[in-house]
Amino acid sequence: MENRHAALGLSDQDVVAMYEKMLLTRLLDERAWVLNRLGKVNFLVSAQGHEAAQVGAAWALRPGVDWALPYYRDLGVALTLGSTARDYVLSLFAKAEDPYSGGRQMPSHWSSPPLKMFTGSSPVATQLPQATGVAYGIKLRGDDAVVYVSFGEGSASAGDAHEAMNFAGVHRLPVIFFCQNNRYAISVPQEKQMAVENVADRAAGYGFPGVVVDGMDPLAVYGAMKEAVARARRGEGPTLIEAKVYRYTPHSSDDDDRTYRARDEVEQWRERDGLPRWRDYLMGLGLLTEEADAALRQRLLAEVDAAVAYAEAAPDPEPEDLTRHVYAE
């Protein structure tokens, strides 16, 4: 097994730490499903299959310096930037301490001023024009931060995606458009969504590079992101990165994907799962052992348990909270 990460400037500690984030993302997501099936949490939207892309992408950002406008599937991005298991589980339980919305929004509607993670909504693609606005501010101020904004391939069909990319191209803004293409928009397959193979093919029409990467390989994603970030910092403008991924679970806890995709298709993609592949890579390089992996799992599961215990016991918002924060207080 040859070392592919050193060349990208990643230390052995880095790649093991990336594995930890990917694994935590998966374990948290799996727990969310359990809590939902137990009737303890009302809704979740899943990240399973996107972990490698998300952790690989976020690894190229400077938490609290660079800006992020992640979409609802970006649990791995939120965790890599500094959100905690507790933060996420608090949002699952919609408790008052939910740092993203105080229990007002569905889970996975990220928000954190200190992490420069801007509040997100459910209407897709609305974050893209907003991301270009942040990037315009950065350019106006001569700040060296960059902006990460993510979305699915279905959301790329929305007008806002076009308006944002065009504007970013005109002003060579320091923004990275990160498309997580999992081939479905809920039930709508890519063939009904677009006539081309890659969303990234559209970047040429906006005057900046479009890159397609294997979203199951964190190094491929990190490498593309690293280059895009450097480009943005050099003032050369945006990059559209398309990570090819797959969603192993239904779209959300309200979805039933058996109505629109064959089980064997899902199984085939399982074989390309980035998490075990990454684990094998680390083990192949002797950076991870069965024991270390088991220990890590234990630690992370304990972290998840603690987060659930804490969130479940945490207080709900007060009734009076309903009318707060409509306007400045």
């Binding site: 039930s187 709508v188 009904k192 918002p317 909270d321 309903l322």
Partner: protein, 328 residues
């Protein structure tokens, strides 16, 4: 007569209209194999094929624009907006285009489209899967807005909407989809758009409402009759635009006490127009101020179940408001 859910009644209306007239087709996100995220269009793609049950790209402005163009060509499109909360990107196509096509062409073109959208809360939908958006379109001439409360009304009015020569927004309350059941005739019928329905006659006060709140108000009215002997007249608007002034004003003059109830927030809600109509046309018949029972002016509605419950209208709330108004 068979008992059906609101959702089944709507699905039947769609299927029957598609069988009756091959110009009718549905389009929207996930309406095909998935049968819609609420299963309203389930079975349609199997019966009518993917061309008449069109899964569109994720683009609401496109969905309405395509409907407008297909209608100009001679078809009768029924567009689904997956959640009313996502209708905003289509507002230009609805307000500046669909609503104005007849007027701006001096009557030479028309826009016979239907836009269906699930709306309303109480389903843990949080800020973007709980909204009521009818008031955002209430100011637009050229549009019709229908919001049925019962399976019977939903089926008859959706058929009317599909056959209507002008654009109709058809709002379906998510909480009512499966929880509200009712008798639906086996034989074909169509109900008139623009006519309110007095769901419960009474002479002591008038309650004007629509959507899921109709059921809350009816329950409250029954309790009020039992416990206090007060007979409330409950008017289900069914059609919000054009509104049935006659029925509203006649009832207001009869009872002299008017309460308006909706799940949508208060300021600028449809209750405002109703109150204004009564204040214009029946002021001196009133024995009490006009009361609007509606949630506070906050964003509908928090995900947290306790906060959601604080936001959502309740039978108790309707009951108390009716009682106080009757006693005024």
């Amino acid at each position: 007569m068979a008992t059906k859910t609101l959702l089944e009644a709507i699905r039947e209306a769609l299927a029957e209209e598609m069988r009756r007239d091959d110009r009718v087709f549905v389009l929207g996100e996930d309406v095909g194999k998935r049968g819609g995220v609420f299963r309203v269009t389930q079975g349609l793609i199997e019966e009518f094929g993917p061309h008449r049950v069109l899964d569109t790209p994720l683009a609401e402005s496109l969905i309405v624009g395509v409907a407008i163009g297909a209608a100009a060509y001679g078809l009768l499109p029924v567009a689904e907006i997956q959640f009313a909360d996502f209708i905003h990107p289509a507002m230009d196509q609805i307000i500046n285009e669909a609503a104005k096509i007849r007027y701006r062409s001096n009557g030479r073109w028309s826009c016979p489209i239907v836009i269906r959208a699930p709306y309303g809360g109480g389903v843990h939908g949080a800020l973007y899967h709980s909204q009521s958006v009818e008031a955002l379109f209430y100011h637009v001439p050229g549009l019709k807005i229908v919001a049925p409360a019962t399976p019977y009304d939903a089926k008859g009015l959706l058929k009317a909407a599909i056959r209507d020569p002008d654009p109709v927004l058809f709002f379906e309350h998510k909480k009512a989809y499966r929880s509200i059941r009712g008798e639906v005739p086996d034989e074909e019928y169509v109900l008139p758009i623009g006519k309110a329905d007095i769901k419960r006659p009474g002479q002591d006060l008038t309650v004007i409402t629509y959507g899921y709140n109709v059921h809350l108000c009816l329950e409250a009215a029954e309790r009020l009759a039992r416990e206090e002997g007060i007979e409330a007249e409950v008017i289900d608007l069914r059609t919000l635009l054009p509104i049935d002034r006659e029925t509203i004003v006649a009832s207001a003059k009869k009872t002299g006490r008017v309460m308006i109830s909706h799940e949508d927030t208060k300021t600028g809600g449809i209750g405002a127009e109703i109150a204004a109509i009564v204040a214009e046309e029946a002021l001196f018949y009133l024995d009490a101020p006009i009361v609007r029972v509606a949630p506070p002016d906050v964003h509908p509605m928090p995900f947290n179940p306790k906060l959601e419950a604080v936001f959502m209208p309740s039978v108790e709330q309707q009951y108390a408001a009716m009682r106080d108004l009757a006693r005024y």
